[in-house]
Symmetry: C2
Subunit: 213 residues, 2 copies
């Protein structure tokens, strides 16, 4: 394949939407999540995020990036009000509704109602899960970092609740999210299913890796 | 499918490796990258990361999480010495070598040599790219955030150089990374190719989304 090259000067000169599509493509495949929140009055909000990432296993922490000037705003406002939120995987059955949550609905409109997804609750936990999602996580706000470089906010949560299909649990703790139906995002707007190549053994300097499972 | 539930108390009680495999699976599919660095003497290092994420398009910024107590250490040390690094996508031809870079090689061993990957340079830019990688990004350290909650470090870089297959560039800036061959990671050690479901139009409250391309 012939390669093409872009310098930082080329990137600065790109038209705004072109640059957004381009730069958002460069970081590879992303997690596809719906973040569910509620305000103090119980008004619910649901928004798609592709910036959810693993931060640590002990304590069990997840991070995501909240943009300041967007529909993400309701998500952060609600988390700051109630201290809790949910992260729900997206599968091929709900990716169109999930994408639709990125529309700029007014705050008094529930994206659950607008897109036909169903809020679901665990006991007294105030944030709504997505009933149709295959893998659901309930979190408590743990730390917030304002990233001065571009005004985005890193939100870190501690995992309190996890619900997933029993058949996807491996005996060593690995969760087969491909079998759960979780999908992945590239760029701003492209959705992909996955096909497993291999699970590889723990790497050591003088040992050949092998396939496991 | 029958669901199974885990509380935070269940998670705390998990055996360490079981918990690492479990929690690392929960955040969905991840980017698969090799980060290339060099120290002041030009000794090169290469390490696999699944925590690379999009931070912003203008300025064009990428973040990744560096664990403090691991083989990632050489990566951060080198970035602090030379201020630059590369992010290289992993495809199905190099994922075994990429995985092998996670072995704890001593600092004087080049993971390029140990795994059979080839360093490649652009002009005076000091960090090595991976010749075999389909999509390569050269970055300059822009900001570092120490996350006190678990001792991890958020490294933020500004994009200086991008090289990718010409045939994967869409006219609107989107890069077709699936066609480039980029793959994705789940959990700690499982590699997947992707298959596009759809690219969806920009969502608006009172408009149906459509497929684009």
């Amino acid at each position: 394949m012939n390669n093409t090259y872009f310098s930082s000067a080329d990137i600065i000169q790109m038209e705004t939407r072109y640059r957004a599509a381009f730069i958002n493509s460069l970081t590879g495949f992303k997690s596809a999540s719906l973040i569910g929140t509620a305000d103090k009055m119980g008004n619910v909000n649901l928004a798609i995020f592709s910036s959810v990432f693993h931060l640590g296993s002990n304590p069990a922490l997840i991070g995501f990036i909240n943009r300041p000037d967007s529909v993400d705003r309701h998500t952060l406002d609600n988390i700051l009000e109630t201290n809790v939120y949910t992260i729900n995987h997206i599968d091929k059955n709900i990716f169109r509704q999930a994408h639709q949550t990125s529309a700029r609905y007014p705050k008094d409109i529930s994206e659950f109602e607008a897109t036909g997804l169903t809020p679901e609750y665990i006991d007294a936990f105030k944030a709504p899960f997505v009933k149709e999602s295959p893998l659901k996580i309930g979190l408590e706000l743990a730390e917030r970092h304002d990233l001065s470089i571009n005004g985005t906010i890193l939100v870190i949560g501690k995992i309190l609740h996890v619900t997933l299909p029993e058949s996807c649990m491996n005996t060593d703790g690995f969760v087969n999210i491909e079998n759960a139906g979780s999908i992945t995002i590239s760029g701003l707007d492209t959705y992909h299913t996955t096909q497993k190549l291999a699970r590889l053994s723990y790497a050591k300097p003088d040992k050949n890796i092998t396939e496991i499972d």
